[in-house]
């Protein structure tokens, strides 16, 4: 569980987040959407403990383990390490079976000895996602993970993410600019205002899981889309 109370973040004199309050239960998928500069990336850094300079309260379960996927696929992986080395990082004792199972699911197994420059942007994002799952992260944080990908790749990465999510049920927090992505993936969507970011509204998405990509065509989906769009 993650609880954020009265969170305020300033970069010297610049206030970027203003009195943020929310709670995310274990296994939930939450999307954060908001305009550029509204403090979404900042919020992710605070939640995951990368940035400890804030006022307010951020609480999470004691065994919280975070995995990060960045907006730019070249940021998500180390270019001088092979796929398998990028998975391991310093940890030599990961479960071999689990590595092979997850890499096969994300179609990266046969590329395990390749370097990131030999992979497409989508594969690099899948690598970062696979790493988070293999390390059994219970919080997986994705900062606009699809925005650097073309739409086929984005769709593939989204499907693989959902597939892994369904089998492991970690808590997933995604920043996205794409309403369809956000609705399709999430249990809840948090909409931020212009800087300084405040919560403008929260929309619960009740679509049944597992969700198919075709759900975007349903009336229910369109209703959610209207509801979120009204908040933006």
């Amino acid at each position: 569980m993650l609880r954020v109370k009265n969170l305020v973040k300033k970069y010297s004199d610049l206030k970027v987040l203003d009195n943020i309050n929310f709670r995310i239960d274990d296994g939930e998928v939450v999307s954060i959407i908001g305009p550029n500069g509204s403090g979404k990336t900042t919020l992710l850094n605070l939640i995951s403990g990368l940035d400890k300079d804030f006022s307010g309260v951020i609480n999470h379960t004691t065994n919280a383990k975070f995995g990060f996927v960045f907006q730019n696929s070249d940021d998500s992986v180390l270019p001088w390490k092979t796929v398998i080395e990028n998975i391991h990082l310093h940890d030599k004792n990961l479960d071999k079976k689990r590595i092979s199972k997850i890499l096969r699911e994300t179609n990266l197994w046969k590329f395990r000895n390749k370097y990131p420059y030999q992979l497409s942007g989508g594969m690099k994002q899948l690598l970062a996602i696979s790493r988070a799952f293999i390390h059994e992260c219970n919080f997986i944080i994705l900062d606009e993970p699809f925005s650097s990908l073309d739409c086929q790749m984005a769709s593939l990465v989204r499907q693989k993410l959902m597939q892994l999510y369904e089998s492991e049920k970690p808590t997933v927090i995604i920043v996205s600019h794409n309403l369809d992505d956000a609705i399709l993936l999430s249990d809840r969507i948090v909409v931020l205002s212009n800087r300084p970011g405040k919560i403008k509204g929260v929309v619960n998405i009740g679509l049944q899981r597992p969700r198919m990509e075709s759900a975007v065509l349903s009336n229910e989906f369109l209703d959610y889309k209207r509801e979120v769009a009204k908040l933006i």
Binding site: N45, F68, W80, L89, H90
Partner: protein, 250 residues
């Protein structure tokens, strides 16, 4: 055919300079004793390549330069990584580093001689003084400008400090480290040649240049100068080759 064209492009400018030197020689613009026929210099150069004495001077200078570069790297790279990672530490050292770099290095050589004598150790120590600072500063800049996302990866996955430095910060800084090494290597060569010219020095290419000048073997002097250039060029090429092999992911 294409290959010949490429090679001819490569050699066109050096050949042009050589031709220009020949013209200057025959026009007699400079004293022919001080500016000898380039063809004779070239012949002298080829002769020197098989001259045991000069080859051993070359080897001596080269091994001093090599020792200088290696020691400078062993000091400059780790120190640069640590100072680059810890910016406030770098700030504390910044004045000292910049001040040391601002002292014309040759001003310090008498001091090195005083402490270490005129043997290899003072020469190498002097070279290390010059080169390690350059390598250190370049390494630190590499760390300053590394992609901060990589540090975040290390942080969220709780990488050990050892892993952080050896597997993330060091490889990320490698392009700058190699730039520093190449500058450091040419500075080392310069430093070693200068120290070999000091009074009391009795070997190395620097000494051989001075010796040839004092004995008025002018073509030989030019030929040895060319040799020092050849050494610098070769060191640079080898470093670039190692760089290309090492940083294969760019």
């Amino acid at each position: 055919m294409k290959e010949t064209f490429r090679l001819s492009k490569y050699f066109a400018v050096p050949a042009g300079i050589f031709a220009l030197a020949v013209i200057i020689y025959y026009l007699g613009i400079f004293n022919k004793l001080l500016f000898p026929n380039p063809a004779i210099i070239l012949k002298e150069f080829v002769l020197l390549l098989t001259n045991k004495e000069i080859v051993s001077e070359f080897g001596l200078t080269f091994s001093r330069v090599l020792a200088t570069v290696l020691i400078s790297a062993l000091i400059g790279i780790p120190a640069g990584l640590v100072l680059g990672y810890n910016k406030s530490l770098y700030r504390s050292f910044e004045f000292v580093i910049d001040f040391c770099r601002s002292i014309p290095p040759i001003a310090l050589f008498p001091l090195f001689m005083l402490f270490l004598g005129i043997g290899d150790s003072s020469k190498i120590a002097y070279g290390v003084w010059v080169a390690s600072l350059v390598i250190l500063v370049n390494t630190s800049y590499g760390v300053f400008h590394l992609n901060k996302a990589y540090l975040k990866i290390a942080q969220v996955y709780n990488a050990t400090k050892l892993y952080l430095f050896s597997h993330i910060i060091f490889p990320a800084a490698l392009p700058n480290i190699f730039a520093g090494l190449r500058i450091g290597a040419s500075l080392s060569l310069m430093a070693i040649i200068v120290t070999e010219m000091f009074i009391g020095s009795s070997n190395g290419l620097g000494h051989a240049i001075l010796d040839a000048q004092l004995n008025y073997k002018i073509p030989q002097m030019y030929a040895i100068i060319l040799m020092t250039g050849l050494m610098g060029y070769l060191i640079n090429q080898v470093l670039m080759l190692i760089e290309k092999r090492t940083i294969h992911w760019i």
